[in-house]
Amino acid sequence: MASLTIDNVKKSYGKTEILKGINISIETGEFLILVGPSGCGKSTLMNSIAGLEDITEGRILIADKDVTYTSPKDRDIAMVFQSYALYPNMTVEQNISFGLEMRKVPKAERDVEIQRVAELLQISHLLDRKPAQLSGGQRQRVAMGRALARRPQLYLFDEPLSNLDAKLRVEMRTEIKKLHKKLGTTIVYVTHDQIEAMTLADRIAVMKDGEVQQLGTPQEIYDNPANLFVAGFMGSPAMNFIPAKVIDQNGTPVLELEANTTTAIPFPRPESLKNHIGKTVLLGLRPEMITEPQPHKEGQAFVTTTGVEVEVTEPMGADTMILTRINGAEINCRSNPSYLAEPGSVINMMFDTSKAVVFDPKTGERLDF
């Protein structure tokens, strides 16, 4: 059963189009993340699902029921806001029970529900406090508790973690994931943080300029980005884009890399490059695919080792990022910290192109689909 269907939804203010025809459908229990840079329309889409903003065209269905013209309170949804939006004059308990009270749930049932939610989120000891007396993380929990108490069809999370400090954010992220696994709720979650998107989502919708650029599982989006924007947006450090000339090597198109020496590297789907021989394409290669030479990979089909000049190194503990330059573009490589890389020196690096992708340098579209 589809829990939420967004059917060709458009939204414009005057002549400005905010949403240009969004189509997304999610199953019950699915965790969907809308991710994109600010101004991409993700929050507008969220507000439209909630019914807080009217849409110009299209339909929204919740649990197979058309709610396009239904008021927010009748859509059976709950929302967690970035600012938490806790009612400042009410205690935590009153905050949680307000929605139930508005829906005329009897007091006894409300109390049972408050206890259930409070235990679930470990906020039982905070029930008598006012929001001002809570820390950021506690407010976050209360905000989620308020949403959970009503047991709606659909949960909307609007950048819920962006007001927390880095450490707490990671903790709450795990918490939300656990909660989702435990309760099996349907969640639509907006964020601009691609790590949040990768770690939490069942599926991700990457948005830009009011359009969904790609909808897929986190791994699909990471490995198989639909275009240059998605490739650059997802992953940290970002994917390397190397302008490379396609040359013909005994009938097989290969890509030419110019580092310390000129090397031709193979591409896993050479047939897709046939029409581009002699032209320059953008080769997309994740940093972890450019490493120190690893003996066990030696001799594999799409592995090439070549010398590069080290510009800067950034030790990150688990890995060391090595910055170099290939075909004039800055390139991030992820190497083992034990691999000696002096800035200015030339060292051997191993290029694994088995997961490489290519883009059209002008349109940014994938060429090898």
Binding site: N47, L52, K73, M79, F81, S83, Y87, P88, F98
Partner: protein, 294 residues
């Protein structure tokens, strides 16, 4: 050692500066309090003493007769009831006018800040214009309107006038205060199932205390001190105390009773003085409350 010497020297200079500061403050306080002090002194003298003594000479002993007379015996025009009935009239006007204009301002501000509609900014701008229209401009049209409504020369009429004039200010106050309330609060409440008035009553109003205090003080002072509307639109038995005070001072049989005039003036000013003494700090606090996100 050297540091200590410098510290001692600075503290000497600081002491002198501090003294100078206090001197200036005292002079200012004296300057502002003088009229009140003179009024108080004069009201406690008897007529003889007022005529013979100087402005600043203290009364030989305290006469409270002039206060009694001002309250219940002095003549305003042809009636000699003191200013007490008019004092009560003022309350009859001020209390409903303050209550209604504050409530309307709160609802207006709530709508303009948190339920923005197409043209709500324009609506606010138009309303704001009301703050800049001088009283005199509306006197004639207002008289006409009150006539049409059948509430001319009545307490109701005066309440109406003050509400109409006050709404521009009260809306401005509440709108600015509510501007600092995150819109997500209203969104959350809507999703929780609360309606327009439930949200206002249960969520917005409980956090509005600082601005309610400011608005009530402002409106109370404005309406209590109003003379022009009072003199123009009141009937014989609905005159506010400001008008009565004017009549009292202008009515004299023989010599001018400055002591009674002063006592009456102090009585007329007392409610606003009391409001400021007791609620003044909330007023300042409330005025700045909107500026910092609470």
């Amino acid at each position: 050692m050297k540091n200590n010497a410098i510290a001692r020297k600075t503290s000497g200079v600081e002491k002198v500066l501090r003294l100078a500061l206090y001197a200036v403050l005292l002079i200012m306080a004296f300057f502002y309090l003088m009229p009140l002090v003179i009024m108080l002194i004069t009201s406690l003298k008897d007529a003889e003493e007022v005529r013979n003594g100087t402005l600043l000479s203290l009364p030989s002993y305290l006469h409270f007769d002039s206060w009694t007379k001002a309250w219940s015996g002095a003549c305003t025009g042809s009636t000699c009831t003191g200013i007490s009935p008019y004092f009560i009239n003022s309350f009859k006007i001020v209390i409903p006018a303050v209550a209604i204009s504050t409530l309307l301002g709160a609802i207006n501000g709530y709508v303009i800040s948190l339920w923005k509609f197409r043209g709500s900014d324009l609506f606010f701008a138009a309303l704001l214009l009301g703050c800049f229209i001088p009283f005199q401009v509306v006197l004639l049209p207002m008289a006409q309107t009150l006539g049409w409504l059948g509430i001319a020369s009545s307490t109701t009429g005066l309440v109406f006038v003050h509400v109409v004039y006050g709404v521009a200010f009260t809306t401005l106050f509440f709108r600015n205060f509510y501007q600092s309330i995150p819109g997500e609060l209203v969104k959350a409440a809507r999703l929780d199932g609360a309606g327009f008035f439930t949200i206002f009553y249960r969520i917005i109003l409980p956090v509005s205390t600082p601005i309610i205090v400011v608005t009530v003080i402002w409106q109370f002072t404005q309406i209590w001190n109003d003379f022009l509307f009072g003199v123009a639109f009141s009937g014989f038995d609905s005159q506010p105390v400001t008008v009565a005070l004017n009549n009292l001072v202008n009515t004299s049989f023989g010599g001018k009773e400055y002591n009674v005039d002063m006592a009456a003036a102090i009585i007329a000013a007392l409610p606003t003085i009391i409001v400021y003494v007791f609620a003044g700090k909330y007023f300042v606090r409330g005025l700045t409350a909107g500026a910092v996100k609470g």
